[in-house]
């Protein structure tokens, strides 16, 4: 009898823990490069994002080839020359919302949070600290974050001819509706 009770308790605990993880396979990641010569932007709506609501662990993964540009040539150069997407097909992030405890997932609101983690792209991993926002609206949870990365930090080199057209610092926007539960 006692064993049944413990097993039931463990099962319930495991279900509760699983329910605390939410995810999306269609998160949006956009990036922008602004120079006096040209503005370049691209976006992907195919990012996987997983958030552990209790521990604050946060994970992203996106296929480089899912980024769409307005111009075909830019997309080709992005994949072949800069990101080398055949060799490095994904960019990923593993981190944590350090102050997840201040988010009340059962109450509507915009919660400003701090994140810290590691971003891997083009085969290079760098530490990223960024503020973000968790938005709760009518029970739906979404996560937003804006931050910048330096191309040089990820060993992405721009040829001299295109130096004036591509910014050395790229702004990244993340916007994910975490609508799937585990």
């Amino acid at each position: 009898m006692k064993n049944y009770f413990i097993i039931s308790l463990l099962c319930m605990l495991s279900l509760t823990m699983q329910a605390q993880k939410i995810y999306s396979k269609n998160g949006s990641i956009s990036f922008f490069s602004k120079t006096s010569m040209e503005n370049i932007s691209a976006s992907s709506n195919q990012a996987l994002c997983v958030l552990d609501q209790s521990a604050g662990n946060l994970q992203f993964s996106v296929l480089i080839k899912s980024f769409v540009f307005k111009k075909a040539l830019m997309q080709e150069h992005f994949n072949e020359n800069y990101m080398e997407s055949n060799q490095f097909p994904k960019a990923s992030y593993k981190g944590q919302i350090t102050d997840i405890s201040k988010v009340n997932f059962s109450k509507d609101g915009n919660y400003s949070v701090a994140t810290t983690g590691e971003l891997t792209m083009h085969g290079v991993t760098q530490k990223i600290n960024s503020p973000g926002t968790i938005v709760i609206k009518a029970g739906k949870i979404s996560a937003n974050a804006d931050f910048s990365v330096l191309l040089a930090d990820y060993k992405i080199t721009v040829p001299k001819l295109a130096e004036n057209n591509i910014s050395k610092s790229i702004d990244i926007k993340i916007n994910v509706a975490l609508d799937q539960k585990m």
Binding site: K21, Y23, K25, N26, G27, S28, S43, S44, N45, Q46, L48, V50, Q59, S61, L63, K65, S66, V68, F69, K70, K71, A72, L73, Q75, N79, P89, K90, S92, S142, N175, V176, A177, D179, M182
Partner: protein, 146 residues
């Protein structure tokens, strides 16, 4: 050198430069692939998923950045943060789908419908077996095939 020959050479050089500049400008301004009016390789959703899950290398060579026309049963219709319609097509793995982001709004497509969708394959997403997440195979810039 005869002045007429000189003039011809200069004229030819200018025309060549103008042509080169025009071609470069045209090529630079070229928009993304016209998926709507292109023909895609026809295949079943289950077969596409099977190929990616069994042999990622050869499936990448065969399908990445190519236009595919995938037929399957709709398992979910939703909207992403950009208000684009996302249609999932069933595969042999219940937790994985062919994940299609549409370019145009659609009506009257619901779970259980059998449809064909044309789009560019961008590969198989990340799986996390510990969390029970299976990677979808993504099609982007999709259109419903009528």
């Amino acid at each position: 050198m005869n002045s007429n020959i000189k003039k011809t050479i200069v004229f030819a050089a200018i025309v060549s430069l103008l042509l080169l500049a025009g071609f470069t400008y045209y090529y630079y301004q070229l928009g993304p692939l016209d998926v709507k009016n292109a023909n895609g390789k026809k295949m079943a959703a289950a077969d596409l998923y099977e190929h990616f899950s069994k042999d990622s290398l050869s499936s990448k060579i065969a399908y990445l950045q190519k236009i595919l026309e995938v037929r399957g049963t709709v398992s979910q219709v939703s909207q992403n943060q950009q208000n684009e319609v996302v249609v999932l097509l069933k595969t042999s793995q219940s937790a994985a789908a062919i994940n299609c982001t549409l370019e145009e709004p659609i009506k009257n497509i619901k779970e259980g419908d059998i449809i064909a969708i044309k789009g560019i394959c961008s590969g198989m997403g990340e799986s996390d077996r510990e969390l029970g997440i299976w990677g979808d195979v993504y099609l982007i810039r999709c259109y419903i095939v009528q």
